[in-house]
Structures are given as C-alpha cells and as structure tokens.
C-alpha cells in the first residue's frame, strides 16, 4: 500500500495543521449536535402527524405542532452549519480533496442531489403548507423530508467509511491519486452499513429521549398527562428500542473495527500488550501510558469476547501494532508511537459514549415504569432528570464520533494518507486563526440563542386546541416568517 506523506517544511505549516484540525473538530462536532435530533425527531413528528390524520384526534395535531416547532428551531441550525461542511474539505484539506476526490466527491454530490433537495424542498412545503395543501399531501411532505434526512446520513457515512476503511479503489502510481474501481462497494461495504445503523439508532435514542424528556417535564410541571403523556411513553419506547439497537450495532461495529482498525480498539482499551482472554477495563485511575495504574476496575475476559466473540480470543496490543505499522507503512516516514492516537482521549471518549448511552436507556426504562397504567412520574429528582437527561445521549453520540475520528489518527484515510499530509498547503495559520475565531464566536452566540428559543418554546408548552385548527385556503396565513 502506498501512502502519500508530505513532511511539513516550515514551522508555520505545523501550527496551521493543528489549527485546521481544531477548526474541523469544532465545526463538525457542533454541526453534529443538531443532526441526530433532526434525523430522529423528523420521523417522530411525522408519526405524530400520521396519528392525527388517521385518528382525527386533535391531541395529536397539538403534539405535532409543538414538537414541530422544537424540530424546526433545531433544523435551522443543522442546515446552516451543514453548509460549511460541504466546502471545508476543499478549504482546509485541499491535498486530501485532491487525493480522494475521485471517490469521496461522488457520495457528497449524490447526497446533495438525492437528499438535500428532498429535505429542504419538502420541509418548506411542510412549514408553509398547512393551509395550502390537502391533508394527505401535507403529511407526505414531512415523510419525504424525513426520508431526505436519512438518505443524507447514509451517503455522508459511506464517505466517512471510506476514510475508516478504504475499498473499491486503487492508487494511480503516476498521479498519486486514489481512483474509483467500484462505487457500489464504496456505498455498501460493511463499515458503511454498520456506521449507518449505529448512527441512526443513536439518533433515535437521542430523539426518543428528547421527546420523552420534554413531555415528562411538562407533564410534571402542569400535573397533566392527558396529551403529553402520549409522547412521554412514545419517546421512552423509541429510546428503549433504539438503545437496544445501538448496543447491538455497536457490538457488531466493534468486531468490524478490531478487524479493520485494530489500533483504534487497542487505544479504546489502553491495551498495550497483545493478549488472549483480555479483560475489559471499566475505569482506570492513572496515566494510561501502560506503565503505572493506580486503580483499575475490570471485567475478566470481556474485551476478548467483545472484540472476537470468544472469551479467549487474541486482542492485539498497541506496542505490537506500532511495530507492525512502522514496517508496513515505512513510506510515510512515521514510526513507533506516531502510529497510535492519543490514548487517554480514545480511552475516555469510548467510555463516555457507552456510559452516557446506557444512562439514557435506564432513564427511558424508569419513565416507562413511572408512567405504567396512566401514572405520572413524581418527585424532584424525576423533574430534574427530565430537564437534563437529553444531554446524556447527545454528548454520548458526540463522544462516539470523537473516538471514531481521533482514534483513526494519524490517518485521514486509514493506511493511505496521513492527516498531516492532507492539509491545504496555501492556507496560512493566520487564515485559519481568523476563520476559527469567527466560526467559534458565531457558533457560540447562535448556541445561546438557539437554546434560549428551545427552552422558551418548551416552557410555552402545548398550543391550545383552538390555535391549531387547520383551514384550507386560510386568509390570513396560519404561519408567516
């Protein structure tokens, strides 16, 4: 395998690289706070509206309008921060774009054509079409927008899967560019399929928790579960089922990862030595440098089982992998510990991902119990938990992505191109500082405004039955910007 490596020649480029990595991290993690909520909540709102159209029960219409408002406040942020994503590969990672453009550009273009047009056009129809469209056409528009969001997720995750496990290509020895052999393989490789399933189930875990938490908060505040009790249970069931899906797909994903990126798994466990029957580390107090550990809580042989499906299976350690990679990827000029990611980051993000995900599942389970037979959840703790719980699966999902991307380092395309050689050679540290400061300040301000609007919308609560009546061809408009 040939690797392209560009050793930075000037000191300036080294810091421009670090800055570009920070900027990509900030803009992408931020963008992906809104995306999972969009992916799951769009479908949940579509289901609520379907219930209204099928049953004629106005309670579902009020719920659709209420959660629709929350969904749209979030969706706007997802859309505008997504624009940056389409261009920043070229802006900050031009050498990467040159190297993978023949393969990576295609799913991005298809995503725009197939998914972005669908979601944005039909969402526009949905927002402004309440009194302009026949009921069923209007219902179809939220479903089409939802399908658009999930299609978009598939194509971008297939593109990301190519970075984790490049397939269906060869490197042209003359141009040093990756060239497409098999697009179907790029789109359907197991890395892409499992990443999609794991991300979608996670998105439903986040969204189910969000809907249940908002409902629970209002149910407890107003001591009235007549309407919001429906979505409290609906959200909790979705979170529970999706949580189960997250666990199953996560397990399959980790086995694929051990096979394709063994270093990432070793880093997740801070597993320095290759061993059979490896223990799964729950928590460690210490430096995670493989030397001294003050305290470690372990489950015997579980790591081997998770990684290989056999309690005595062999799990490769960081030290052996570093040696192996030094020989295998000599052309990159990297050696030894250059080939491992930052171990404490990989170790802790992996644990946060799992821990926070489980927390959400437990909460959903508790809410189902607390609402059995038409009961209302009670107590200060339940009330507080409803206010905060959504952050758990959301930050868990963020941690999972930080683990996936930071755990792949030093590679931008595993085994093919290092991140250091992918950065734009002409973009100076000054340029990146300017853009990073502007994006960060802007994103910070918008986050405060967005959260403020969400909280106010939640506090405002369900719209009254009279306020949501849909009259076709209505004048004045039921909704205006």
């Amino acid at each position: 395998m040939g690797g392209v490596s560009l050793t930075p020649q000037e000191g300036e480029h080294v810091s421009a690289l670090d800055l570009a990595r920070w900027q990509f991290g900030i803009t992408t993690v931020y963008h992906f706070l809104f995306v999972p909520i969009t992916l799951g909540t769009s479908f949940l709102v579509a289901i609520m509206q379907t219930m209204w159209v099928r049953t004629g029960n106005d309670a579902w219409l009020r719920l659709t309008k209420f959660f629709g408002k929350l969904f749209l406040i979030n969706f706007a942020m997802g859309v505008v921060t997504g624009i940056v994503q389409e261009f920043q590969f070229g802006m900050n990672w031009s050498e990467y774009s040159r190297f993978v453009g023949d393969i990576f550009g295609a799913p991005l273009a298809v995503e725009a054509l197939l998914a972005f047009f669908l979601e944005s056009t039909f969402l526009g129809m949905w927002i402004f079409g309440w009194d302009r469209l026949p009921k069923k056409v209007h219902l179809a528009s939220i479903w089409l927008a939802s399908i658009g969001t999930t299609l978009s997720a598939y194509f971008i995750l297939a593109a990301n899967a190519f970075m984790q496990h490049p397939v269906g290509f060869h490197v042209n020895p003359v141009t040093q560019r990756a060239e497409m052999d098999d697009f179907i393989q790029v789109l359907t490789q197991n890395t892409a399929v499992i990443a999609y399933l794991h991300t979608m189930t996670s998105a439903f875990l986040v969204s189910g928790t969000l809907v249940a938490a908002v409902s629970a908060f209002l149910v407890m505040r107003n001591n009235d579960n007549a309407v919001l009790g429906k979505t409290l249970r609906m959200g909790a069931v979705v979170a529970l089922v999706a949580g189960l899906g997250v666990a199953i797909t996560g397990d399959i994903d980790s086995k694929i990862m051990v096979n394709q990126q063994p270093m990432k798994m070793a880093a997740a466990e801070a597993e320095y030595e290759t061993e059979r029957g490896a223990d799964f580390s729950l928590l460690t107090i210490g430096t995670l440098d493989g030397e001294e550990t003050t305290f470690e809580l372990k489950i015997p042989k579980l790591l081997s089982f998770l990684a290989t499906g056999d309690f005595n299976g062999e799990v490769k350690g960081i030290n052996d992998l570093e040696q192996e990679y030094t020989a295998k990827y000599a052309s990159t000029g990297l050696k030894g510990s250059d080939f491992s990611p930052t171990i404490p980051v990989a170790y802790w993000t992996f644990r946060l991902m799992i821990g926070l995900g489980f927390l959400a599942i437990l909460w959903a389970l508790w809410m189902l119990w607390a609402t059995r037979g038409g009961r209302t959840p009670k107590g200060k703790f339940a009330y507080k938990s409803a206010m905060w719980i959504t952050l758990a699966p959301l930050l868990g999902l963020s941690s999972g992505w930080m683990f996936t991307e930071l755990g792949r380092q030093p590679w931008i395309v595993f085994g093919q191109m290092t991140t250091a050689s992918a950065v734009s050679p002409t973009v100076t540290s000054f340029d990146v500082i300017v853009s990073m400061v502007i994006f960060t300040v802007l994103y910070g301000v918008l986050a405060v405004i967005e959260v403020g609007l969400l909280l106010k919308t939640i506090k405002q609560g369900l719209p009254a039955a009279n306020d949501v009546k849909v009259v076709e061809g209505n004048q004045p408009l039921t909704f205006a910007y």
Binding site: E95, A109, L113, F116, E179, Y481
Partner: protein, 350 residues
C-alpha cells in the same frame, strides 16, 4: 461516450448548477438586501420574508450541489479554488449561516431590537454573498497567479485575499450585486400586491438601469480581454437585450415576463462567462502559463460515468418537485394576510 466528451458534459453541468443557483438564490439575496428598503413596516417586512419562506432553503441547495458536483467531477478545481479563495469563501459561509438562522428565528419575538438585529443579519448575510460570488467568478475568468505546484502536483493559488480585489473582480462583484437586487425587486413585484408591489417595480427599474450599465461594461471587458471565442458575443448581447426587455416589462406591469427575462439574463451571463473560460476552469493570469482545465482537473472516466447516470436520473426529478413548490406558493401575498405582524410567537414566555 468518450472521456473528453464526459469532461465537457460535466463542465456544462457545473454551469447549469450555477445558473440554477444564481437564478434562484439570486432573487432571495435581492429580497434580503432590500428588506428594510422595500419593507417600511413590520407587516411589509414579514410579507417579504414570507414570500421567501418556503423557497430559500431549496434555492440554497443549488450551491451545495454545485460544490459537491465540483468535488466529484473536478476535484483539482474544488481543491485549488476553495483553498485558494479561502477568506472570501469563509465570509460567504458566515453570511449564509447568519441569514438562514435569521429567517427562522426573527419572528419568534416581537421585540423591535431583536427583529432589527436579525434584519441586519439578513441584509448583511445577503449582501456579502451577492457581492463576493461575483468577485470570485470575475477572478476565475480573469485568471490567477499560481505558486509552485503542491507536493502531489496540484496547482496552488497562493495570492491570498488582496489580489482578488482588482478592478475587474470588483466590477464583477458589483454586477452580481445589482443584478440580484433588481432580480429580487422584480420577484417582490411578482409575489406581492398593493403599495409594496408598485414600489418594488419602481425600485427594480432604478437599480436595473445601474446594473445594466455595470453589466454591459463588465461583459464587454470580459469578452474583449479574456475571451478567445467569437460565439460568446452571442450570450453577451442576448443578455443585454433580455435585461432591457426585463426592465421594460416590469415598468409595463408585466411582472411575470420581467421575472422570466431577468432569470434568462442571469443564465446568459453564466453561459457567457463559462463559455469564455472553456476549456479552462481556473486559468493562469498569463494564459501562456496554463492552469487548470477540464482535462487536467477532472475525475476519472469511471467516476464521471457514474455521476452522469445519477445526474441524468435525479436532476429532472428535482426540477419537477421544486417547480411544483413554486406552483403551490404562486399566489401574491399582501401585508394584510400577516396575522398580527408585530407580535412574536414566543412573546410573554419567561
């Protein structure tokens, strides 16, 4: 189909995507810039924004598609252009973020300060891209000075921001700015009624005449200095004719025709510029030094074939359903239809 033909088809398709983008988001930039010029009170401003409401996001997808398609079909172009024009592109992105959020959040509160701030975001957020896309395209047609090649043989533009601010580039920016403002005013005259409609008509003619002068100077300059083709005279002259016809029609109160003609003008201007460029996509300022062309910047034949298949199926479908939304929201809006314009959805919530 030969590889060369595929590369040419993709050059044409990228031009088509930019036509779609300029024709569609062109008018919503224009309406955004004129938000407080045409909208003299809250009811009028909200009428203006509501005419854009169901459409702006779909319009914006055209530029995402143009970006994605350039990445897929001409990765070297995508890499050189966007890393080279780094700061102006960043400004465009910031502007697009601001205006997108502003559309969605503005009417949540009735507080005049809140609304004024979002109006500023919409005006600046529409003004900057309307100007900067022109500057970018002007400089592409003019050519740039490349530094040495990258480690993997890519063309590198290392000039930064200042060399882009040359007279030709700046003129191009003023041309897109004034064209979009006029196009937006024509859209308002087509989509609203009453006083707003008539003021939009008058303003369209006024800005349109300024745009006419700027555009004619720009296109003649481009044709004489940067075109090696005779046939590009045709779209240049046709664009001028269409533009004057558009202004005549809007004055005569035929807003539908005026809008079609101003859209046609934008399309012809893009055709002229891409025609002058062909087969270059990013030439050197000194043409003898070469530069990026559709032949050295493109993807492989395999990728172009796959993408052609996708485009062949998807573009017509997209056009059908997007046109349908324009049909659904075809009716004129009046300020009287905006329910309690000064009130915000979240007023009174603490």
């Amino acid at each position: 189909m030969s590889y060369e033909l595929l590369q040419q088809i993709w050059f044409v398709l990228i031009a088509v995507l930019w036509i779609g983008y300029f024709v569609l988001e062109g008018f919503d930039f224009g309406v955004g810039i004129l938000l407080r010029t045409l909208g003299t009170n809250e009811a009028e401003r909200r009428t203006l924004l509501t005419t854009l409401g169901p459409l702006w996001d779909g319009n914006e997808v055209w530029v995402l598609t143009a970006g994605g398609a350039t990445f897929a079909a001409f990765p070297e172009w995508y890499a050189t252009l966007f890393s080279g024009f780094y700061l102006p592109l960043m400004l465009i992105l910031v502007a697009l973020i601001l205006r997108g959020v502003a559309f969605e959040y503005r009417s949540k509160h009735g507080d005049p300060v809140w609304r004024k701030r979002w109006d500023l975001a919409i005006i600046v957020g529409s003004f900057l891209p309307a100007l900067l896309w022109g500057v970018a395209f002007g400089n592409i047609v003019r050519g740039v000075e490349f530094a040495e090649k990258s480690a993997t043989g890519g063309f590198l533009y290392a000039g930064g921001l200042l060399p882009l601010l040359n007279p030709f580039g700046l003129l191009a920016g003023l041309v897109t700015l004034t064209l979009f403002m006029t196009h937006g005013a024509i859209f308002v005259s087509l989509k609203t009624d009453g006083d707003l409609r008539y003021r939009a008509r008058d303003l369209a003619v006024k800005i349109g005449l300024v745009a006419a002068v700027l555009a004619v100077v720009f296109l003649l300059w481009a044709q004489l200095a940067y075109s090696d083709k005779v046939w590009t005279w045709a779209p240049v002259l046709l664009a001028a004719v269409c533009w004057l016809a558009a202004l005549y029609m809007v004055r005569a109160g035929r807003e539908g025709w005026a809008f079609v003609l101003s859209a046609l003008t934008l399309a012809l201007a893009v055709v002229a510029l891409f025609g002058m460029l062909f087969p270059n996509v990013m030439p050197s300022l000194d043409r003898s030094l070469g530069g990026l062309t559709i032949y050295n910047a493109s993807s492989t034949e395999t990728t172009l074939k796959i993408m052609s298949l996708v485009a062949l199926v998807m573009v017509p479908i997209v056009l059908v359903y997007q046109s349908w939304t324009y049909w659904v929201f075809r009716k004129r809006l009046t300020a009287a239809q905006i329910p309690s314009p000064e009130a915000g959805i979240l007023d009174g919530v603490h």
